[in-house]
Symmetry: C2
Subunit: 444 residues, 2 copies
């Protein structure tokens, strides 16, 4: 079986599947791909692997705490390496601590296609975030092997390290980490540098790992939606149009701290009242225009922070996300202008300090069409939607075309023990990943 | 001079001074008190004593950190005892750790009159809060001694301990402290019990200290206003009509924590947005009716408290103060009713847990009239106003008639290094205290 090659006829079929997408209307009348022409993943095995993985960092209340660079993370990565070997891949750990399972392609001159995700979690996270895409990628590779299919491009399954802490593994694989970045202390208490070493990487030689632009043919990632759109709209597959840009600011509101008993209401320069007006105004501005943009005040502290003292200072965070970077900037400009008015109402002042700037990462248009075509040929309902969450795919988007496939999250819950995606949805997602991979392999 | 008695004629004059107050119109035509009839305090000495006191816990940026039960507090209390001895008072420390300077009265059968205040401060507090009234009381006693005046009632100058931490000294002197109260950990890190011992008290025998109802003829306290009313209205003396009641609640708002990127604006149960609407609503409700009531949100925390997570829970404090307890209750009922509406806007819920209930303490009507009359005979402008801050006088109000005299605080600033009262205002206040004391001594 291992000598069997992905035949020219089969490639033709896979490619035909792409063009059902309305994006390419000139080929809309091409013959639909017969479903029997492509193998399907072993859904039972895939979901069993997910079950196996759940044991690492398992919490009594459900879900996992598998924070990057902890023992639970490292132990789970040992299992992952075993699963990759079981799938007949050549396993290695790159200098950045990412796990790589490689399968040769029929044309060694081609750049590789990468499929993958992550297995680290937030503290008290769920059993699906990252894990579905990781086990799905391994399952796809194993299915290919069992079906005796060799892709033209070399195939790499990559399990990135420390996604939740800030996409560190994919970042180290695509960009130059500064000393300051390497010295950043992660949630585990270890620095990024120490964490890389802990996972078997070599932080002193990251250049050996780094992927140059053009060195990767494409990156595909299966992931749970983490939002409620697919679940609400009863859709099986999400064709991700891109990963939103994220800007975050620390907002400092300065008034004057004073005695809450002796200072009349009209004499107060109450920074907390201004913070309240600001928070409501942010909500109003974000919702004032149509679109999927979101704005959040997630953290707040009032100083001095006593029940009997009028806060003289409030520090809070503002976050705005959208697929369109210009829209983020326009909304922020509006918020900033309105802040001045809000602050003037009680003689308080605003300062904004931006501390995050993730630029939007649109997915590749051709790959989007292939994801949609794959869903269609598998008989799966699907819609196009943005990813409101960050993903390793956004780092990869800096060096190659990327595509993402979402499966539904029950009630949109994520980063919590109640996170859930149904086994059949997970299997569907892996099948779409498999079909999309073969289309990309044929077309790129 | 020490054998000189406060003569009957002089008493008559002092008493006449009372009745200028419009509260007692039937005597409004009584002859005004000649100003030369009563001694005045030594303002230079009084302000020099304040300067001396400022050295204890002095901060580089101005003001003092003289937190109760710290070395700065204890050392300052040694100075205070010396000043009391210099003023020819018999000095002792009661079982509760309060400093008492006593002067016999001409009629030993009468209950004592107490004048006093506190010298402990908040962390990074000012040089005037409590300290003006403490040095003022000592100065009044010293002036009486130097003028050869013996009051009918025994006179006690009391420097209460740990006012800022919750009126502990006056509370222990007027009520039974529970074990739980004695085990309360104060800002110093010491329990109240340890603090009392630290200051030379005897927490095992607090019953020796306790003042029964009727055992004190009256309590008078001079204090800085801590608010900006006198300063704004260019008034020299505040006749305090009472100490406001204070109710405080911990308010918990429950929504649902979710991913700030993947959860659309319309699907959010954002507890922070509700907290913002609540804070603005509190401000609106408090200001909706005329009066001097105040309402404050002074502390707030959002959970989990990350820039990229929609807060599922917010805990904040609500405080309402007014001289009228029923008005506090009515405003809270209104706020609670509106909260239900505010919460329903985005499917969030409110819980209120009350943790403070200080009942309002009105001052004695007769003493108010005497304070006003004293100001008038001294040629000082004066208005009647409530105390928005808590004071030891509110504990004393449980066992005897009380009166309070305010002097202006520059710009209303208090509990901060910039706290300031002018030396001449402080001297005026001490003179009003002296005159009021003599009127009370004559009339009670």
């Amino acid at each position: 079986m291992s000598s069997h090659q992905w035949s020219r006829r089969e490639f033709g079929t896979a490619v035909a599947g792409i063009f059902g997408a309305s994006l390419l209307p000139r080929l809309a009348h091409a013959q639909p791909a017969p479903r029997w022409a492509l193998p399907n993943v072993n859904g039972a095995r895939l979901n069993a692997h997910l079950e196996q993985l759940h044991a690492f960092g398992k919490n009594p209340q459900g879900g996992v705490s598998r924070v990057a660079y902890t023992d639970a993370d490292r132990d789970a990565r040992v299992l992952v390496q075993q699963l990759l070997r079981d799938a007949k891949l050549d396993v290695s750990i790159d200098a950045a601590g990412n796990i790589i399972g490689r399968r040769a392609g029929s044309d060694p001159s081609r750049p590789c296609i990468i499929i993958g995700s992550h297995i680290d979690s937030v503290p008290e996270g769920g059993n699906y975030d990252g894990q579905v895409g990781s086990m799905g990628a391994i399952e796809v590779a194993q299915t290919l092997g069992e079906a005796g299919i060799t892709t033209r491009h070399p195939l790499e399954v990559v399990i990135w390290q420390n996604e939740e802490g800030g996409l560190w593994g994919s970042h180290a694989a695509t960009a130059v980490l500064t000393e300051a970045e390497l010295n950043t202390v992660s949630r585990s208490g270890k620095t990024i540098r120490e964490g890389i070493t802990f996972l078997g990487g070599d932080p002193a030689h990251l250049e050996r790992t780094r992927r140059a632009k053009g060195s990767v043919a494409a990156y595909l990632e299966l992931h749970i939606e983490q939002g409620g759109t697919l679940d609400q709209q009863k859709q099986q597959i999400g064709v991700v149009e891109g990963i939103v840009g994220i800007k975050q600011w620390e907002v400092t509101i300065t008034g004057f701290a004073n005695h809450a008993g002796t200072t009349a209401m009209g004499e107060r320069r109450d920074a907390m009242l201004t913070a309240a007006r600001f928070t409501e105004m942010v909500n109003r501005v974000i919702r004032a225009t149509p679109g999927r943009q979101v704005g959040t005040v997630g953290r707040i502290q009032a100083f001095p922070g006593a029940p009997n003292v009028i806060p003289g200072k409030v520090v809070l965070t503002l976050e705005i996300r959208d697929l369109d970077g210009k829209k983020i900037d326009a909304m922020f400009a509006r918020i900033k202008a309105e802040s001045t008015k809000v602050g003037a109402m009680n003689d308080t002042a605003f300062e904004f300090h931006q501390f995050t700037d993730n630029i939007p990462a649109p997915t590749d248009l051709r790959i989007r069409a292939m994801v949609a075509a794959s869903a269609r040929e598998l008989g799966l309902s699907h819609i196009t939607l943005p990813s409101g969450a960050g993903h390793d795919a956004q780092d990869l988007a800096q060096i190659c075309p990327v595509g993402m496939i979402f499966v539904p999250s029950l009630k949109g819950i994520s980063h919590a023990p109640a996170e859930y995606s149904a086994p059949e949805d997970i299997t569907n997602g892996a099948n779409v990943l498999l079909h999309t991979l073969l289309k990309v392999d044929a077309a790129f």
